[in-house]
């Protein structure tokens, strides 16, 4: 699809009308400033967005955030809400890495006081946090413990001494989706997760030490505990092999089940069934279990960060405190206003972050009056952002915002173009220590492979769906 098919609605909003394709039930909307439109329309993101608009029961519009890029089935950066309970649920609208997400821990330690320890800290983090593909962690679950993790989520780790009860208040859904049912998760999926708690994996997953570089919103920054010059830790990973297997199992099941419901989506990767159907309910319960596994994983990684902190700085109690943990690959049952009436919908976020505004009851008291922290990692070596969600996002984007910078170059092209040892050295000269399992990983995740995160964040800020609070600059990056 070409750029000229987009109709400009606002500086930050574009639309493909329903008339573009007879099968569309709703229009398709793109949240992006003009500077991002060429990149978004250069791959198949817009065709995929139009396909999403054909899903049975879809409400209002299919949407992509400004970090959008081509995926498989749904575009990455996609948001789609379907009617509850008989609209569809589509595993492709959540992705294979169920509850891939980000958490931010904030420290009272000033960067200038410990700048000379950053290399030691990055090496210690690499030692404490297992990374890489197929690499297990220090925790080996048995079958019973696995069931408990799938039911309890982050609370399982807290019960084992890895964190505090206060941490749970600072996690989306308090780190646990109650609908989880381990019986709906296959033995293969459970087996793949047995040794993976506390591991980041590979690809674009990382643990990063940042310094708070700039404050845009003093009140929100104060409530979030962000002070210019202080350290923070950003963690990006998900449900690992367990989540991948749950998605694989259920997409296959739905491909086979769709003829029963007379669904024939334009792409099999958009496989879907009614949420209320037996298959839909089974998938939702399994997805919730995998999401719980991911929250537990990030909780265990926080504990590993604290161990590294203690080994380098001599005190566990100085470890950064959890600000927030938010998913960006997930489906949720949420309520929105349609024609003045509250209705439940099934919100699919695939590479999109929940961005709820002030007075949302689930938020901790410290920032309930401000809104939910929205965490936007940039690419390795570039800025990341902390934003705050708004009530306008509830009106415009089913309470959703962007999730990162968004790729603009393929991994193969990045590998061809980037001299990884050279990039690692260059970043070191800028005071950014990158520790990775392979040079391949560094090349694939080079800043040149990503869109300008500043422009992505500027889009959601101007749209009013999430507002800039603080900019973080990386100092140490750990990758698989």
């Amino acid at each position: 699809m070409k750029k000229q098919h987009l109709q400009k609605i606002e500086d930050y909003l574009w639309e493909i009308p329903r008339s573009y394709n007879a099968n569309m039930h709703v229009p398709a909307r793109v949240y992006a400033l003009e500077g991002l439109i060429d990149a978004i329309s250069s791959d198949r993101s817009l065709d995929q967005l139009v396909n999403v608009a054909t899903l049975p029961g879809i409400m209002k519009a299919s949407m992509v955030m400004p970090d959008a890029h081509e995926g498989y089935g749904f575009p990455i950066g996609g948001v789609a809400a379907t009617q509850y309970p008989d609209g569809v649920i589509s595993p492709g609208g959540i992705g294979y890495d169920i509850n891939c997400g980000v958490r931010l821990m904030v420290s009272k330690m000033r960067y200038e006081d410990v700048a000379d320890r950053m290399e030691d800290l990055s090496k210690e983090l690499y030692k404490q946090i297992p990374s890489g593909v197929g690499k297990g962690g220090m925790i080996q679950l048995n079958r019973k413990a696995m069931e408990d993790v799938l039911i309890k989520g982050a609370e399982w780790a807290v019960d084992k001494g890895m964190g505090s009860l206060e941490d749970l208040e600072h996690i989306e859904n308090h780190g646990c989706l109650k609908e989880a049912d381990p019986a709906t998760v296959s033995d293969k999926a459970k087996q793949r997760g047995l040794d993976q708690l506390g591991t980041i994996g590979a690809g674009n997953h990382f643990v990063e030490i940042d310094v708070v570089d700039q404050i845009f919103h003093e009140e929100a920054a104060g409530a979030f505990g962000l002070q210019k010059g202080n350290l923070a830790v950003l963690i990006h990973t998900g449900s690992r092999g367990l989540g991948h297997q749950v998605a694989t199992d259920y997409i296959r099941l739905m491909v086979n089940a769709m003829p029963k419901y007379e669904y024939k989506p334009p792409d099999r990767e958009l496989a879907c069934v009614p949420f209320s159907s037996e298959e839909g309910q089974q998938y939702f319960k399994a997805m919730c279990a995998a999401a719980n596994f991911a929250w537990c994983n990030r909780q265990v990684i926080s504990w590993e960060v604290c161990k590294a902190w203690e080994n380098v700085f001599g005190s566990y109690s100085d470890c950064p405190k959890l600000l927030y943990d938010v998913a960006h690959n997930i489906a949720k049952i949420e309520e929105y206003t349609f024609n003045g009436k509250m209705e439940k919908v099934i919100v699919h976020r695939k590479g999109a972050t929940r961005a709820f505004g002030a007075d949302f009851e689930e938020l901790p008291r410290a920032f309930r009056h401000i809104g939910q922290p929205v965490l936007i990692p940039g690419s390795m070596g570039t800025e990341s952002y902390v934003l705050v969600g708004t009530n306008k996002s509830l009106e415009l984007t089913f309470g959703s915002s962007c999730h990162g910078a968004g790729r603009r170059m393929s991994r193969r092209a990045a590998k061809r173009q980037v001299n990884a040892p050279g990039l690692q050295e260059q970043l070191k000269k800028q005071g950014i220590f990158v520790t990775a399992g392979s040079f391949k990983g560094i090349a694939e995740e080079a800043p040149v492979a990503y869109k300008d995160v500043n422009l992505v964040v500027e889009t959601v800020h101007r749209a009013g769906i999430a507002l800039k609070v603080a900019k973080l600059k990386p100092k140490a990056v750990i990758k698989g």
Binding site: G134, K135, R268
Partner: protein
């Protein structure tokens, strides 16, 4: 005859497979997956230390290929092994019985999350060969 070609994709991996028989197309797909998981692992006459059988039934030849690759990927991760060889015992457009064999590994080079149905369409091309695209989530 079998041919594997890696094509551009912004975030994942797009593979074009071509072969002169459906059996060879499946063997090529397994070869491509192993090469992604651990480049070069199967090149040097590995001693085969692990064998597993796969029995898959799917709704058509395209879903059969993707389901076969998904099973092979799951097997690689659960057994921590790369499967270099595929011996097809029985095959139709909707069913495959095969023995896969390979060797154990300490880890993998690529985090292959899943094999997707996106863009997959197993069909004969103008030259009479079987071909398809496979998108792999990494």
């Amino acid at each position: 005859m079998k041919k594997i070609e890696f094509l551009p994709h912004i975030a994942d991996v797009r593979i074009r497979l071509e072969a002169d028989s459906l059996e060879q197309l499946f063997c090529a797909s397994a070869e491509a997956l192993s090469e992604m998981l651990y480049p070069g692992f199967c090149n040097d006459g590995k001693t085969l230390t692990i064998g597993r059988s796969l029995h898959i039934i799917s709704m058509d030849r395209t879903t059969l290929l993707i389901d076969f690759l998904s099973e092979l990927l799951t097997l690689a991760y659960t057994e921590k092994a790369i499967f270099c060889y595929v011996h097809i015992e029985k095959m139709s457009e909707t069913q495959i019985n095969a023995i896969v064999s390979g060797a154990l590994v300490d880890g993998f080079e690529e985090d292959v999350k899943a094999v997707t149905y996106h863009e997959a369409n197993v069909q004969k091309n103008e030259t009479g060969n079987w071909e398809t695209i496979v998108i792999v989530d990494i």
